[in-house]
């Protein structure tokens, strides 16, 4: 049951690579799984962008294959399916598995000095549950009437049988439910592992910030995924058994019935913490990477942890800012506005500490470092534009326009993705025993950050122009026609952004099998994971290490030639 035993290495292929209980294998499974889904979601994004810039013209290359009935043109129903599935896939099947599944599984035991997760079997179950969820979601694309068209937020009554027929939406709800269950299993495992299996000597304040980020994420997962799970159950019952949780009676009839706004409350009680579920691991990773590659201790470690804790607590009480136009009480709206502004304070403290960490450092601008610095840039853009949306009187106009799309893509998508890229370039040598190409990595970085900034900043302009999101064709309304040129700019930058990801795919695959062999500690950092041989032996540590130093002891004046020290060594007095 527990991860501090040594189990013999399995010999059969099935037990070793498929139904493995080894956290390292599961981490790689999550990584491949997530990357493949990111590719699928990315291709969907490209199709969405194609349609917006060229409404009604056939999609080149793949159009004829995917939309044979219309001769390659995306029809409005398929368009709605595309953005719904793009959102769902990116959040639940792309970013969550990569950031939390892969790097959570990889980093937590290795960084805290444990032989495995505390519940290895639950860990395996977590992966296969998310895989099943992915399969259900994928299957829903092929049922009659196709996948759901109700948006990734799945608001009733559009998502009930009032608005969507067919099994697509029901299967979507089942998939979200399963993925949620997987995240809860992972969360319970991560929390218990971090509490119980830290190596002797490793105080809470000796944990790398990556582990802290993952810890808070796990707490949010355990607390708030059940909320969406229950909300989905009620939705499934409304669709399948004809209950009326979310389906109201007509206002003219005088009867009451269900409440569609109830779903919005439940969804965002989960949905807002979900933003932090995705960003907290990235914050943790970035805080570590900045210290590692600035060769300087992380500035204000405890304040950083405190700020992440504050964000975790506050994340549950700000969700109302997603619902300013639903007609909530004025007082309630004002409270949510104030709370949302308060949550910006810990976020700002994180920025302050990151910038302070690299100040007067000795910066090694590796690809991982570039992506970590990139997070400061894109999260700065995304976070600051949140101010417009927290403020009710500006949000009323900007709500459900492209301004919102730009904002949440920069915060929860681009920042989380940059964190994931930084982590991939960083942990790759330990995971696969080979180095990724730095030249291709840097090219990938520049060809990502430049078009990405153009894509989402143009969306801010479109949104300020009043362009609503989830429109099949913006040239349909007179008001929007003069904004169409912005769609063209966004789309062309998006194509460049998409193409740049192929460099990453190529770099990843080539380096995985043909890259130069990595040394044990190529980045010269002191955390426990990098003190192990590469490849990491089956049960990680033959002897559980004893921790004597913090994770960020760089450039200590008494260290001599070496500017780093393993966590297992004592700092010179």
């Amino acid at each position: 049951m527990s991860g501090d035993h040594i189990h013999p290495e399995p010999t059969s292929f099935l037990k070793k690579h498929v139904f493995s209980v080894d956290h390292k294998v599961i981490a790689k499974q999550f990584l491949w799984f997530g990357l493949i889904w990111l590719l699928v979601g990315g291709v969907m994004a490209m199709m969405i962008r194609w349609q917006l810039a060229n409404p009604g013209s056939p999609v080149p290359v793949i159009g004829g294959l995917l939309f044979p009935r219309t001769g390659g043109v995306i029809d409005p129903a398929s368009y709605n399916m595309l953005f719904t599935m793009h959102g769902t896939i990116m959040i639940f099947l792309g970013l969550t598995p990569v950031l939390i599944g892969a790097f959570g599984n990889w980093c937590i035991p290795l960084m805290i000095g444990a032989r495995d997760m505390i519940f290895p079997l639950l860990n395996m179950l977590s992966f296969w549950t998310v895989a099943l969820g992915g399969a259900v979601g994928f299957y829903s694309l092929f049922v009659p009437l196709g996948a759901t068209e109700a948006g990734w937020t799945g608001y009733p009554t559009l998502s009930t049988t009032v608005g969507t027929q067919g099994d697509g939406e029901t299967l979507w709800a089942v998939a979200v439910f399963l993925i949620g269950a997987s995240s809860i299993m992972g969360g319970i495992n991560y929390i218990t592992t971090i509490i119980r299996l830290r190596a002797p000597g490793m105080k809470w304040s000796d944990m790398p910030l990556t582990v802290w980020g993952l810890f808070f994420t796990a707490v949010l997962n355990v607390l708030f995924l059940p909320v969406i799970g229950s909300a989905m159950l009620l939705l499934i019952m409304d669709r399948v058994f004809g209950t009326s949780f979310y389906v109201p009676a007509s206002i003219m009839s005088g009867a009451s019935g269900g409440d569609p706004i109830l779903y919005q409350h439940l969804f965002w009680i989960f949905g807002h913490p979900e933003v932090y579920i995705l960003i907290l691991p990235a914050w943790g990773i970035v805080a570590d990477l900045l210290s590692f590659f600035a060769r300087k201790p992380a500035f204000g470690y405890k304040v950083t942890v405190g700020a992440m804790f504050a964000v975790t607590v506050l994340s549950a009480v700000v969700y109302g800012h997603h619902m300013f136009t639903t007609g909530m009480y004025a007082m309630l709206g004002e409270s949510f506005m104030l709370l949302t502004m308060i949550i910006s304070v810990p976020g700002e403290i994180l920025f302050f500490n990151w910038l302070h960490t690299i100040w007067r450092g000795s910066l090694r601008l590796t690809t991982s470092m570039l992506f970590a610095l990139g997070v400061i840039f894109v999260f700065g853009l995304g976070g600051l534009t949140g101010l417009y949306l927290a403020t009710i009187s500006t949000d009323i106009f900007l709500h459900d326009t492209y301004f919102v799309v730009g904002h949440f893509h920069l915060t929860m998508a681009a920042s989380a993705l940059f964190g994931a890229f930084g982590a991939t370039y960083f942990f790759f040598p330990k995971m696969f025993g080979r180095m990724m190409s730095e030249k291709l990595g840097k090219l990938h970085f520049w060809l990502t950050i430049v078009p990405l900034t153009v894509v989402f900043c143009t969306m801010f302009i479109s949104g300020y122009g009043g362009m609503p999101r989830r429109y099949y064709d913006h040239t349909s309304a007179d008001y929007l026609v003069p904004l169409q040129h912005l769609n063209t700019i966004t789309t062309h930058s998006a194509f460049l952004l998409g193409a740049a990801q192929l460099i990453f795919a190529w770099n990843f695959i080539r380096s995985r099998w043909w890259g130069p062999k990595a040394s044990d500690n190529p980045w010269e950092v002191g955390t426990l994971d990098w003190q192990m041989p590469t490849p990491v032996p089956h049960y990680n540590f033959k002897e559980i290490p004893v921790v004597k130093t913090g994770p960020h002891e760089f450039s200590h004046p008494k260290l001599g030639d070496r500017d780093w020290i393993p966590q297992t060594e004592e700092l010179p007095a």
Binding site: S2, R115, S230, L233, M237, T243, L262
Partner: protein, 195 residues
């Protein structure tokens, strides 16, 4: 602090504590799930002016009360069984069996409540009250079924000697989950039948 043996017949206190801690987080998480359902109950109930709505078929109050007492009895039996099991005292298997039988009896009574309503022409699609009653008890019942399977599994394990004082954490966790089911039911009972 590290044991190098595999499949130890006797679990060490450390891994026992680990298992308990994991179960506590699990139940904390599931409390949020049921809490969400109960919040929905309160909000929808608030929308319906008079509660229960006049003129509808209500589930049988006496039968639900009996079901509640049976389930409480089951919890007490399971609790006593775990105590005996931990102390390696007699009556472990017997009390656990009693708890399981009472659990099955609860499931039967719960089914009776449903079929009674369905026979009277009510059903989940009849209105807000019915949606809530059927929906929430279904979710609870699905968990009860899983818990009953676990209770049976432990029962078999006690027979074969797999579980006992030497391996008690799975037994304790199952009992904890069963008590949790009990608490959830009591909350539902209070919501639907008392207040």
């Amino acid at each position: 602090m590290t044991t190098l043996a595999m499949d130890t017949p006797r679990e060490d206190p450390r891994s026992r504590a680990n298992a308990t801690l994991g179960m506590i987080f699990f139940i904390g998480s599931w409390s949020m799930a049921f809490g969400t359902l109960f919040l929905s109950f309160l909000i929808l109930r608030e929308r319906v002016g008079t509660w229960p709505p006049p003129g509808i078929v209500l589930p049988s109050f006496p039968m639900a009360t009996v079901a509640t007492l049976v389930l409480l009895g089951s919890s007490v039996a399971v609790h006593a069984a775990v105590k005996r099991g931990r102390a390696d005292a007699g009556g472990f298997a017997g009390l656990w069996a009693l708890g399981t039988v009472l659990g099955v009896a609860f499931a039967a009574l719960q089914s009776w409540l449903w079929f009674d309503l369905l026979a009277a022409g009510s059903g989940p699609q009849a209105g807000t009250y019915e949606s809530l009653f059927f929906g929430l008890t279904w979710v609870h019942a699905a968990h009860v079924v899983v818990a009953l399977l676990a209770l049976l599994w432990i029962q078999l394990g006690i027979r074969t000697g797999r579980y006992g004082a030497h391996r008690i954490s799975t037994v304790q966790n199952t009992a904890m989950f069963w008590h949790f089911m009990d608490v959830v039911w009591v909350v539902l009972y209070l919501g639907f039948f008392v207040f």
